[in-house]
């Protein structure tokens, strides 16, 4: 009951935020919400399935560049939808090829994806359009962006929650535990893996598309491997096997790095690195794991409904 009340209050605060906050704090909230959406959607695939994906930067970049290309020619939520479809389509192709790879091979392959996308785009732009980079003039207002990203973050959380309680979600956990056994048990592992991967990529593409108008000018450098790593770090920091974990991780990392950056102009990297090391050493199951350690909880996963 108290939990539900807190949740409702939190939602109201998030919806009212742009009204109360200064433009700077609204931007900070926007950036953190975008990270929440990325981390949650990364974790609902990579957490249970244990396929470490480093493709976040590729999907995010594809969505962002799509917004830059279509620019102001289409009305606002459409670029975001387009970004989602783009991410989804890329993930279907890549997933069909790469999800046969296990462990580090999959991670390395997905890491290469952002570079591949970047250089393909450069090749295309140089050869076909004769220019690289796009100016995004007349972007949607900051309120529009905030609520778009808030919706995406909310949707990602709801998706993650629904997935955990569904047969599909259990199948994914089964794959993570032992893929061959899961297959023997009659799970169509390829379909489950590729489907969930594509769903998570759709969120990443949408977030990229929604954030792009913030930067006025976009070039293929938007396919940034840093985004991929940061997402993994946020999810692992919070705890990748829960829904709350990635949220806590994204909020914590976003606030911590901002505060350190503002207070310690020269030493913030050191501070951030030390914080990460301490958290990882002291809390192997993430920040969210700390909460469940304090509050006895029978199992990290809910029991299946009969």
């Amino acid at each position: 009951m108290a939990g539900k009340l807190a949740l409702v209050l939190l939602l109201m605060a998030l919806i009212a935020a742009p009204e109360i906050l200064s433009p700077y704090h609204r931007s900070l909230a926007l950036a953190i919400l975008a990270d929440v959406a990325l981390a949650v959607s990364w974790a609902f695939f990579s957490g249970p399935s244990r396929y470490l994906s480093l493709a976040t930067g590729a999907f995010f970049g594809a969505g962002a560049y799509l917004t830059a290309i279509v620019g102001a020619r289409v009305p606002w939520p459409l670029p975001v939808l387009g970004g989602a479809l783009m991410g989804c389509a890329m993930a279907l192709v890549v997933g069909a090829l790469a999800l046969r790879l296990r462990g580090p091979y999959f991670a390395v392959f997905t890491f290469g994806l952002a570079e591949l996308a970047k250089h393909t785009l450069i090749w295309y732009e140089t050869g076909v359009t004769g220019t690289v980079g796009r100016l995004l003039l007349a972007p949607p207002g900051p309120w529009t962006l905030y609520y778009t990203v808030l919706c995406l973050a909310g949707l990602a959380v709801v998706t993650a929650l629904l997935l955990r309680r569904s047969r599909w979600g259990y199948a994914l956990v089964g794959i993570g535990a032992d893929e061959e056994r899961a297959e023997t048990l009659g799970i169509d592992t390829t379909r489950v893996k590729v489907g969930t991967f594509a769903l998570s990529a759709a969120f990443m593409g949408a977030v990229g598309a929604a954030m792009a108008p913030r930067w006025t000018y976009l070039d293929p450098q938007v396919f940034n491997p840093f985004v991929s790593f940061q997402t993994v770090i946020m999810a692992l920091l919070g705890g990748a096997t829960t829904v709350a974990g990635p949220i806590v991780g994204a909020v914590f990392l976003g606030l911590a790095s901002e505060i350190l950056l503002l207070k310690f102009r020269y030493f913030y990297m050191l501070g951030l690195g030390l914080t990460l090391i301490v958290v990882v050493l002291a809390l192997p199951s993430g920040l969210a794991g700390l909460a469940s350690r304090l509050r006895p909880s029978p199992s990290p996963l809910p029991r299946p409904q009969p």
């Binding site: 200064s22 433009p23 700077y24 704090h25 931007s27 900070l28 950036a31 250089h119 450069i122 140089t126 004769g130 220019t131 690289v132 980079g133 100016l135 003039l137 972007p139 954030m211 913030r214 930067w215 006025t216 000018y217 070039d219 293929p220 450098q221 950056l261 503002l262 207070k263 310690f264 102009r265 020269y266 030493f267 913030y268 990297m269």
Partner: protein, 402 residues
């Protein structure tokens, strides 16, 4: 560190204030003029930011504060306080911090970050809150598409730069010193725009490149391109480069034993460390705009002050323009105060005399500085084109690599 720095500033300001009181004026109350900016201290933009912009910002601040501060119309001198962070070479971080500067810190003035993309990212924020932003490191033909009245670009743009390249190549060809031109360009916005401008400029000059090759940002080997040019008998190499690939191409030209009579490259050539790295780099040409011998008032004093404060020379292209942007702000504040629309009006309507020569803006672009070509000659990057601004005459063919 940041605390110590602030303390130090306070002490300096305090000392300056005390000095002022001794002179019989009430400096003690002077509130600092707060100026905000981000510069990349980490990430890919940090090298350029640390060479071209950072040292000039701190030099200007130290010089002004040594005089008791920035002269503000009607308020006397007020010390300069910088509010800045490392933007990590991330556009999102920079945009957010400029929003913070405008709405939370409510700074008096803003200075730009380093690089074209960064300037593009923060310019709409500065424009929205009415802060004139004078960018010394934004180079793109797209600047005029931005249509942001508060954004100004000081540096020569691709059309002007390539116009100068074509000008000198045309003359050298007429003198029979070169016959075959080849271009290698980095395929990001900067290189692609320069290359497009090169095609137009060469055509207008009645010239044609025998070969044009592109390569990706972060390239690790350019020797195949260089060997190809060498085999084709190219005698004028034009590299539309960033500093890392410029250095790479120069080292590899020596390795593949190719010494064309003209070696002309874009960004990086004008850095003193390029000269030092290649033992004088005698005869190497590049984009130019400034050296301590130019006739602009204060050029030599600026050079000496930069060397004295930072124990290193300013680069011979954009550094002086970074300093000039601060001179422009300083003069505006002295004449109209910190009222930003008035500053903007003055920037729009005045021709400023700076260490980098006269600067006047039309629709946000500096129209007073033409494209220039420089050449390292006995330790100085002499301006060799256009002739009206030249501090030296071109030496072609260039001597062998040292």
């Amino acid at each position: 560190m940041s605390m110590k720095r602030r303390e130090f500033l306070k002490t300096t300001a305090g000392a300056a204030a005390a000095l002022g009181t001794l002179r019989g004026r009430a400096w003690g109350q002077a509130k600092p003029v707060r100026i905000g900016y981000t510069l990349s201290a980490t990430g890919p933009y940090s090298v350029g930011a640390g060479i071209t912009q950072g040292p000039n910002y701190t030099l200007w601040q130290a010089q002004a504060n040594a005089k008791g501060g920035l002269l503000v119309k009607g308020q006397g001198r007020r010390p300069i306080e910088f509010i800045s962070i490392d933007d990590r070479s991330e556009h999102e971080t920079a945009v957010r911090f400029y929003e913070k500067l405008a709405t939370d810190d409510r700074v008096d003035l803003m200075l730009p970050p380093w690089g074209t993309a960064m300037n593009f990212a923060v310019a709409p924020v500065a424009n929205k809150y009415g802060y004139p932003l004078l960018g010394p490191t934004a180079v793109s033909n797209k600047i005029k598409d931005l249509q942001l009245p508060y954004f100004y670009a000081l540096l020569q743009q691709p059309d002007q730069i390539m116009g100068a390249f074509a000008g000198i190549l045309k003359e050298l060809k007429a003198q029979g010193k070169i016959s075959k031109i080849a271009i290698a360009y980095v395929n990001d916005l900067f290189g692609i725009e320069l290359n497009a401008s090169a095609a137009t400029a060469l055509k207008e000059a009645g010239l044609e490149a025998v070969d044009v090759k592109s390569y990706p940002l972060g390239v690790k080997d350019l020797s195949p391109v260089l060997k190809g040019f060498k085999a084709a008998g190219v005698d004028a190499f034009v590299g539309l480069t960033y500093p890392p690939d410029n250095i790479l191409a120069t080292s590899q030209a020596k390795e593949v034993d190719w010494n064309p009579p003209v070696w002309l490259a874009a960004v990086g050539t004008a850095f003193p460390f390029y000269r030092d790295r290649f033992k004088g780099a005698e005869g190497v040409m590049g984009i130019a705009g400034w050296n301590p011998k130019v006739k602009s008032a204060g050029a030599k004093e600026y050079f000496d002050a930069h060397v004295k404060k930072h124990q290193k020379e300013p680069d011979r292209w954009a550094s002086a323009f970074a300093y000039a942007s601060l001179q422009i702000l300083e003069r505006c504040v002295a004449e109209v105060g910190l009222d930003r629309p008035k500053i903007k009006a003055m920037v729009d309507s005045t021709e400023f005399q700076t260490v980098a020569g006269p600067i006047r803006f039309v629709k946000g672009s500096n129209v007073s500085t033409p494209g220039m070509v420089g050449q390292w000659q006995k330790g100085e990057f002499e301006i060799v084109w256009p002739k009206g601004l030249a501090t030296g005459t071109p030496v072609v063919p260039k001597p062998a690599w040292a």
